[in-house]
Subunit: 415 residues, 2 copies
Amino acid sequence: MAKPVPVSPLAPKSYPELPVIEGVRFATAEAGIRYKGRTDVMLALMDKGTQAAGVFTRSKCPSAPVDWCRAKLKGGKARALLVNSGNANAFTGKTGAKSTKQTADIAAKATGAPLGEIFLASTGVIGEPLDAGKFDGVMDDLVKNADPSGLLEAARAIMTTDTFPKVATAVAQIDGVDVIINGMAKGAGMIAPDMATMLSYVFTDAPIAAQALQAMLSKSVQGSFNAITVDSDTSTSDTLMLFATGTAAKRGAPRIADAADRRLAGFKRALDTVLLDLAHQVVRDGEGCRKFVEIVVEGAASAAAAKRIALSIANSPLVKTAIAGEDANWGRVVMAVGKAGEKADRDLLAIWFGGFRVAHKGLRDPGYDEQQVSAYMRGDKIDLRVDIGLGKGRATVWTCDLTKEYVAINGDYRS
Amino acid sequence: MAKPVPVSPLAPKSYPELPVIEGVRFATAEAGIRYKGRTDVMLALMDKGTQAAGVFTRSKCPSAPVDWCRAKLKGGKARALLVNSGNANAFTGKTGAKSTKQTADIAAKATGAPLGEIFLASTGVIGEPLDAGKFDGVMDDLVKNADPSGLLEAARAIMTTDTFPKVATAVAQIDGVDVIINGMAKGAGMIAPDMATMLSYVFTDAPIAAQALQAMLSKSVQGSFNAITVDSDTSTSDTLMLFATGTAAKRGAPRIADAADRRLAGFKRALDTVLLDLAHQVVRDGEGCRKFVEIVVEGAASAAAAKRIALSIANSPLVKTAIAGEDANWGRVVMAVGKAGEKADRDLLAIWFGGFRVAHKGLRDPGYDEQQVSAYMRGDKIDLRVDIGLGKGRATVWTCDLTKEYVAINGDYRS
């Protein structure tokens, strides 16, 4: 087992106050799946009629719960969400699928929800069979104790090697009526040791139909969870779900079924804010991280090209180690631009660290003050901007630095 | 500057004896480009009529010497090769191109070779202008001192953060006549600090025309230099060239112009051997490495799919840190298979470390002995095999583990 690690130096200094969303209640329990002396199961109970949307890992070897959720999501409705930490139920083959079904049966029995409205996730060790019986012992208590104000505790129960629970909240107006969006996430890179998951659950009382939720979620994820990387390793369990209880309708919020409805403009902005906040928190809990890095690529041939170049920079071990070493090593940035496979012309490139342009038109910028840049690199938020100089394509991604602690967390856990 | 590092624990125990190739001579000098007290320039002089082939980085931001070599290679002939370490002349824009031209002029004047038959390479810091005048002071001595037995010293002069010079040799028969292949390489990942280059030069006395050399080189590189990775970062300067003096014709070797000529079968095998040997040495000098890792993927939908999956595994920080930690962490291997984007079915996968099958049909292999596998993982050569179970696609790639020393070499150089 990994030794306990201190809270990430990039963790938020405080948690936001989370307003209650009517129609969703949370409970946690210690099921003893792997950890001792901490909660490892989270149940979210949702009122009848709650609409659901989700996006999942692109891995060709997804976990059993991901398979389950994808299938059930076709109904667009949710009554219960059950998540455990300590075991990912990934690469567990038919046994894993069976265990997932058994878990859902237990949840259905205790909650009265139909199987098609139960969603599951597991995060932790890959390849170990998950004993569904563990849920049996805690399920009745979970249902009994479910509480509308339990979101932060729920976020804590699904942590694995996260060093802090991740929550975010926002209020939007739909046709003049306030609606709430609350979210939680877990993830710290691909999560050590031998763990692999990013999970995020977002709840709202807005009365929006599943199809519209799905369209908005699929779009919002592009600029948030699909724009972060800690170590380029894609989890087998990545899951992001959005649940809408619709209870704001009681306060006069209109029921909306079409994502293109103009009255959703504010909701979309708030959803973007919550997802980006949660995604940033995942990066800020990146294993061994000391610096939060924002990478903006502009002037690329297209937005897609800009994103590929930005991710090439963000995933480059040499760029990430240089940032850990507090060096504005733009030579490595050039290398990462070059290897991205997108159109680029050395003689048009310009590179900035913070406000300092360090390279320009294929040359070191003669005007930059190395001392000023060095001082900037000692900060814990690094902005890196690259102008490709070719077109109008633009993208922003976020990552963290690569430190010896990352290697220690992911390599030393046997000692 | 990086502190001097000890020789890689994976370095070969001895250097092979390198037979002399008639028609090529080597010299080295201390030009003081960046390093003090060591050679940093290498000249190879080749007899008139020497045929040349080359492959170069796929980076969209290649160095000035790469641009130069690509242009000159069209002639298919070589008389001189001049390589410096300490400065990569990369991302130096028009200044870099001018410096390259100036260097070639100096070499042409001293050697009498036409500009179109002079090849150049630079390896070291990116973004610093390269002072071509430095070559002026040493060029006449280089020409005067050139010696047929100087290959190992030449290999040493082009090292940057390599911890040992890399050479390899083989003898092949063409129509019953012995021909020699000698090669050198440099590279240790993307090379710290802020350096970036893999260079390799191979020489033969076989009388083979440029076009045939090019075809054989382009093919042979696929299974050797294009099948290794240290940190997934592609150099702006990668250069591999093959020169054939043709002097074996004096001993009766036939002149061959067609790569499909059956008499080249032995030569091709020998070329493969030399390139693979050199490529392996680059991995064995990978920054901070402790383990040499061979990854075989079989049963993929195609050979290309197998190679993409193999490289996804080889480039995964989580797989590499687990190997550094001596853990047979097949869960992370599954993750890396899943993220490769190629067809894969969890329930068909099988994974071996050495002779030990650790996972099978979507489950931990119940038969494997954890103690035996742990003992195996403590060795310095790790064989990892993955059967995708879908088709006949097969590929082999090589990499090294990811240790804290890698991060130190690439991040701590400022302290």
